[in-house]
């Protein structure tokens, strides 16, 4: 596919300009400026009707949804469903698998570092060999998806901590 310069004569698609050319000045005044009113008059949905794009929890977008699938297969057994390092296989391991959702992981570990640990495994990063390298099993894209999903888990964990903190504050009062 090639980049082509935009044609100089663009189709006149703007309704206001079209009105100007076709009609008189009076018509222009009646139109009341750009924008028009047609499209913005979307009806408000009934309160009972379900919404395709609304949910209390954020919807998993492309990278996160694919990351979720990979995480379920490869990561969950040790790192746990919510990334807290409590997968069913965790208790057999020494050292224990890392929580992926604590403050340190959320704020101090960059996407690049996460990617490298997943790709090269624990041993090559001076950590436990029990975290295997996934770079020959998962491609760069798949690892990117997993990183996005881990970030989603972190946001969820943070939101959960904030709500429970608020609740604690309320009950404390």
């Amino acid at each position: 596919m090639t980049h082509r310069p935009a044609p100089s004569h663009r189709a006149v698609s703007n309704p206001v300009v079209r009105a100007l050319l076709a009609g008189g000045a009076a018509l222009m005044l009646a139109c009341g400026g750009p924008g028009g009113g047609g499209a913005s008059a979307a009806e408000t949905p009934a309160e009972t009707a379900p919404e395709a794009t609304q949910e209390s929890a954020p919807l998993m977008q492309f990278e996160e949804a694919n990351g979720f699938e990979i995480y379920q297969r490869y990561c969950l057994v040790c790192h746990g469903e919510l990334g807290e390092g409590d997968g069913f296989n965790a208790f057999n391991l020494d050292p224990k698998p890392r929580s992926l959702v604590d403050d340190y992981m959320r704020t101090r570990v960059s996407d690049r570092e996460l990617t490298e640990v997943i790709r090269l495994g624990g041993r090559k990063r001076g950590r436990s060999p029990l975290m295997p390298p996934w770079g020959r099993t998962l491609g760069d894209r798949q690892i990117r998806y997993v990183v996005s999903y881990i970030r989603l888990l972190q946001r969820k964990a943070q939101a959960a901590a904030e709500t429970s903190g608020e609740e604690a504050a309320e009950t404390g009062q």
């Binding site: 009076a26 222009m28 919807l59 977008q61 694919n66 699938e69 041993r123």
Partner: protein, 672 residues
Amino acid sequence: MAPLRLWLAFAIASVLMFLALAISPVRHVFPEWKSIQKQYNQLAAERYKMGQDVRPVEIGLRQLWNPDLGVVDRCTTCHLGIDNPELRDAPEPFRAHPTTPHRLEEIGCTVCHRGQGRATTTEAAHGATKHWESPMLPSFYVSGSCGSCHRERKPPETYTVASGRRLIQEANCAACHKIPGFSLERKPGPDLSDIGDKVRPEWLYRWLKSPFDYLPESKMPDFHLSESEAAVLTSYLLTFKKKSPEEAAAGRQWEQALLNASDEEIEFGETRYRELRCVSCHAQEGRGGKLGPDLGKVASKVQPAWLVSWLENPREHYPDSIMPQYGLTEREKKSIAAYMVSELVDYDADPDEDDKILELIPEPDRAVMAEGEELFRQYGCAYCHALTGHEVRGEFGADLSEIGVKDIDQLDFGNTKIERSLVQWLYTKMKIPRIFSPDLRMPDYHFSDEEARQVTAALLSLTGDNIPPKYLPPSPDPPSYSPSGPFNRILEKYQCLSCHSIRGVGGEIAPDLTREGSMAKPEWIARYFELPYTLRPIMTERMPILGLTREEIETAVSYFQLVLVDDSIPREIFLSPPDRSMVETGRRLFYEKYGCQACHQVNQQGGYVGPPLDGVRNRLYSGYIYEWLLNPQRFIPETIDPNQGLTPEEARAITAFLYGLPPAGGSQGGSR
């Protein structure tokens, strides 16, 4: 005449028109996109100072052009950071595109996102204008577009579409609708021609009335029948029997015998029920396998005599049944049935309610029969269930081949106030199927919000034939495996391919057997048939004890060794026992370098993601272990065992270490 006033008005109008004409080109000098590009250049300057590789752009329209796909997309005029990973966190419209398998230049934007690619204002481009029939999809649904080209059931890297397609498959939508890529080989529901022999009347009424109350995992949807509809249909269906009156009388005697079974018999039945691992396929109260129906309350559903004859041979009742024909003795059959009718009972059921239901069900007189037949026809029951006199032709529901590009003017929104968009219409239909009109007949599948979204995304992928063939990924060769002779009789009798697969044919819940003969040793396979122990503790589905005869086991084992082999895998790689230093090297590689104990148990130490490795030499050929270590994904592409990039020497040393491991506790029985 008032010429002066007219002239004045004309003069003013002329001046205004002149002004308007003079002003209108100015709009082109200051279009929206130019100011957006200037904003981008500011952002680029800031980011560049921070050391990021973000360069300013030349002011001007940009477009992607692909005549094959009919793409003229000017989106990159404003979405300037789209291919710069440094801008993953930038505000829109400058944010980098998420990682995808496709290069933007290849396919443009609107192929996936929809919208009006040629437009040069935000509003028009995003399609939020009148008379533009395919506005941009909400971001969650964009992945639905992956499925327009990737038409296989489970396309890679498209979790949302794959999940939607799985739900379409599980809900058997194709029983009523034409959906490309989905065709049913057999009717998904059971044959009803002996339903009168099979179930209890009060159960049938409850089931028809609200199947999800009896079984939250119900595969039959909820038709929202009224009380009288459910009662009439129950009465009609119960007239379908195959047993003669004498057989029915004998059945009632049986029933008494089963209900009066001694505690020992019931206990024996329960033990066998557990040992045979019925729970691998049949959950109880939601826990267990999903291949067969939940049996937690089966005593409230079926008639005991029917249960015994079902255990005898499922395919005598339903030729298409996927349940194995167990080699059970007379005593086993009766005591298992006795256990089921006395223990797997719906304890929440209210006996008074049963009586009320029985009163509701009318006698099957001529009027009731006619009404029942009409209801059966009206709700399209015959599209899922075989029943004498109800042969079907063509589709019952709408053709969905191009539902993903349906013009919204053709959609009936009824008197709902939902947003007028295809996405919203499909989603609402999945949640409340009859919301748009009381005359609709589509049943309710009780989809969760997430499931309804996934199905909607999968439906959006049905865009007909608008993609040029050269853009479609090559479709894989259809799997072909058609065994014959004695081994095929074993496969059919025990329905092995309900769970296992061979050369791409069969189920997914148990290991693939294509290379079994190159992998497992014959003595081990023979023992495993007799007493299958748990190799992978994390799996819900366990190999049942099928009760193969000695002759059948011999047939199966020799078939594995002769036919299900891969000649590229050597059987043994050690001509003589490996020396001790190699075993020691392997041990260190296993524990210290590669951390294999994270997933495998050896001598009761380690994780249990993979199979325990004690005595693995009794199970696997050394050649297979070696080849597996070099590249696990070669044999099972989706295996969790990571490819660690072992050198051949390392793989050989680890194989030597594993081959020396003694069996756990000295026996093969293992954990169960």
